[in-house]
């Protein structure tokens, strides 16, 4: 169980490398999005380990927040306003 969480944190560090290094803005946006989903799965694994159900609520909230942020930035990149 612990080794699985450590491996996921290693994957989050790979995403952090792309956030710091990424040549363009969408690179950074997609790396932050993937990092949020990785954190959501880490939270879910911690919820299983500690048998705390509310950590799964946190996991769902993380996935939804990253989704909304990525959609807003995609709209901004394609040059349209948010209500278009």
């Amino acid at each position: 169980m612990t080794i699985l969480i450590v491996l996921l944190v290693l994957g989050a560090f790979f995403c952090l490398y792309r956030v710091l290094r990424g040549p363009s803005i969408p690179d950074r946006v997609i790396a932050v999005d993937v990092m949020a989903v990785i954190f959501s799965s880490i939270t879910a694994l911690m919820g299983l380990r500690l048998r705390l159900a509310y950590l799964l609520d946190l996991s769902i909230a993380l996935a939804i927040i990253s989704f909304v942020a990525t959609l807003a930035l995609a709209k901004y990149l394609s040059g349209r306003s948010l209500d278009d």
């Binding site: 996921l8 790979f14 969408p26 946006v29 997609i30 999005d33 159900a53 799964l56």
Partner: protein, 116 residues
């Protein structure tokens, strides 16, 4: 028995997540990275959450894990599709080994494939 299958799903999901993050580091341009990262991370996270459902069963932990599977499987592909379309319109260059680019050709714009 159900626990064993659940742990199998969780381990497979962690491996998929790790390989997706490795693809985010290694692949040559934005579109390759995006498809490597989002596809395998979607599958991996859904695997982890489904494994949690199999282990926990029908209590509050398991049902919340199923709902989270639903959210992840809809959200991440939609977000990555919108972001890749936005970045094509924004003009992020394709890798220099790209064969053809139908989207830009259909719009009648100049090619955005990177020069050799």
């Amino acid at each position: 028995m159900t626990d064993t299958i659940g742990w199998f799903f969780i381990v497979a999901g962690v491996v998929f997540n790790l390989l997706g993050c490795l693809g985010l580091v290694r692949f040559p341009d934005l579109y390759n990275r995006m498809q490597a990262a989002t596809k395998s991370v979607t599958l991996g996270t859904c695997g982890i959450l489904f494994g949690i459902f199999l282990i926990a069963g029908f209590d509050s932990l398991g049902i919340k894990a199923l709902v989270a599977v639903l959210f992840v499987i809809f959200n991440l592909p939609v977000a990555s599709h919108a972001l890749s379309r936005g970045s094509l319109l924004f003009g992020v260059k394709l890798w220099r080994g790209t064969i053809r680019d139908e989207f830009t050709a259909d719009r009648g714009a100049d090619s955005i494939i990177e020069e050799q």
